[in-house]
Symmetry: C2
Subunit: 398 residues, 2 copies
């Protein structure tokens, strides 16, 4: 029997409990061992849960119980989860988490700690909810040198953009609808400002390219500036606007650049057709070319099923599954200023610009126009091109 | 050092050699061991290859060399590969293959043989080329009870259909183009008649649902009957025609039904936007909902990189990676006659049919029309509906 403690019995944590209970027999057969929920750590009590008698309020009970082999951390936030994770790993207990902020900011340290203590630190659920992505990157694509990772990493913003594109809702109206449907939090900042996508591209990039990249090294722009006018101009050119997290490894010195920003994506590309709360992550390798992983990027059971898959891996491999990447720093990244793209630009005034293709928009306000540059330009080049213009919006074209 | 023998040095086999040579250092670091190509078995000699001195013509050299731990079978066909695989496994050597026909027809036996001899039989490359699909199904989705698997499993037919849809080529013209581009073989039967997709859905279904399903249990229809008229009617209704392999597990008795047939797929669904030689496989689980895996379904390096990933897994896990499924038979499958779908029907004559939505097609021949049924019908029900009509084409709507 393998004993698990679940820290935080909110949406994901209770989903983990539900799957371990409901699919218990199936799971036991697959891993040839019984997986038992021994403790649930939460401030609250859960008198109606099947695990009502397992609730504890003090992490040291779990830390000091040698029977607990696996700790599932589904609390969110950083300081307390970080403390618990460190203590669990030091006690030789493997830890599984869905906490992207913690992995993005302290992953390198925690992976090292796990290795030193001969246990595992796994976090499949931290990126893409239930979509299998981290494990395929480390195993199935292992024969490849990866070159680029790009994806729709946040379901809330993708839902908002889908509603703007399909139903013609304004950003504010689409956000309100997302909140009413439970797809956006009351304080939606982390989603709409791109922070959530930023944490996820940090994790993908660290794992895919082997060196930790931290959120403050990733220029991040959200979707709050996108208007229906941009949506219409994009459509007239055959594009949809999507918020993408992107990380590119430079061949010459193996440095990495990651950023988060809205992009215009060609309508008939696979990424453009990822709608609503779905996520998709495209990985490019030297042998395999492009592969894409698609599915629900959030939600109780999808995310919980990824957590449980990690738990099962630990049981099967007896905590010997080791993921690692090296420490990163200033000298392992290069600037987003060096990355050239075609650009979409919306400006005040009605004039043509050489070297660009003008977009048409039946609903455009008078005295406004938009274009896409013919050539890929660096940010400095597009700033130079538009320096005498009254720029209203400017997005990369993928 | 781990010694590998490659059986068959054609497209995929030489790709495996190329990746092991080119990415050798990177691979060695990842698996903490050197992977050495000791033998290549082929009828031919390869004087210009870096492995020219490793070529042998008799399998027993490999079989009897205790230094060979892993055999890569990339020959294709069944009788000789089957013989070699049995002998390798009995000698305790793990086997990695890209041979879908062999896995679809003898997978259950060979997996059992591997288990008995404490070695591995892996075949990630047999489905979806380089797309990671089998490994995620067994690990990442392990916490799920799977319900359905559906996919675009054959790149050749998807290329032909894409060219019919996008460029208005006839089936024959599109096939010729595919042959000219190297996407279709001189004898394209296995692709265009659906046999290749059939073998792949057999493997996916066996792995996903735990019991072997054999090609002769899978009703299989290819794409040779699809006309430009069908393409145009489908478009007018907002659909694209795609050849799908599909397998559905029935909750009540856990029996499985698999089939291969062209389907009309809604234009804005992720599967519809899988174009050219790309493949995509969608898996539905009880916790995770739908996830989709997308990438190049064939090609030398994508397929070879999946083979090498399996080799690396075996090195890492010292041949202890065990996949298995049970034997299947008549009592583990149910009939495709029990599966209800909406149907697209093209018929001679110009008349309306109750309970259907008529499609428009500007290029339609006089005296022909097409419709989609409002309700999901079983094959018997749609045959009854159309029994007095001159049916020209009839495809399911997904």
């Amino acid at each position: 029997m393998v004993n698990v403690a679940i820290l935080g019995y909110g949406v994901v944590g209770s989903g983990v409990g539900e799957i371990l209970y409901k699919n218990g027999q199936h799971i036991s057969e697959r891993v040839a061992n019984k997986v038992n929920v021994k403790y649930i750590l939460d401030r609250r009590e859960f008198p109606d849960s099947v695990f009502a008698d397992r609730v504890v309020h003090d992490f040291s009970v779990i830390e000091n119980d040698p029977e607990v082999q696996i700790v599932v951390e589904t609390m969110g936030g950083v300081p307390f989860p970080l403390d618990c994770t460190r203590r669990a790993l030091k006690a030789g207990k493997s830890v599984v988490t869905s906490n992207k902020e913690l992995v993005a900011t302290h992953g390198c340290e925690l992976l090292k700690l796990a290795k030193e203590n001969h246990c595992s630190y796994l976090f499949e659920a931290s990126v893409g909810g239930g979509i299998p992505i981290l494990r395929p990157m480390t195993s199935c694509l292992a024969a490849n040198e990866l070159q680029e990772i790009v994806g729709i990493l946040n379901g809330t913003t993708n839902y908002i953009l889908t509603r703007m594109i399909r139903a013609g809702l304004s950003f504010d109206a689409a956000l309100k609808e997302a909140q009413a449907n439970g797809y956006a939090e009351r304080d939606p900042s982390a989603d709409i400002l791109g922070w959530d996508a930023c944490r996820k591209i940090c994790i993908l990039s660290s794992l895919g390219f082997g060196r930790h990249i931290y959120p403050d090294q990733v220029p991040t722009e959200g979707i709050t500036g996108i208007t229906l006018s941009d949506v219409a101009y994009a459509r007239s050119g055959g594009y949809k606007i999507k918020l993408l997290g992107r990380s590119i490894r430079r061949d010459s010195d193996l440095k990495v650049c990651a950023y988060v920003a809205p992009h215009l994506v060609a309508e008939d590309s696979p990424l453009a057709n990822v709608e609503d709360v779905f996520n998709a992550i495209q990985v490019t390798g030297d042998s395999i070319g492009d592969v894409m992983f698609y599915g629900r990027g959030a939600g109780k059971l999808p995310t919980a099923s990824a957590v449980v898959a990690d738990v099962m891996d630990i049981v099967r491999m007896k905590g010997k599954k080791v993921i690692s990447w090296e420490e990163g720093g200033e000298d392992t990244v290069y600037s987003v200023e060096e990355i050239a793209n075609q650009w979409y630009v919306r400006v005040a005034g009605d004039f043509a610009v050489e070297g660009t293709r003008r977009l048409r928009n039946g609903d455009a306000k008078d005295g406004e126009n938009a274009f896409i540059t013919d050539e890929a330009l660096t940010p400095a080049q597009v700033r130079e091109l538009t320096k005498d213009m009254d720029v209203k919006a400017m997005y990369r074209v993928l």
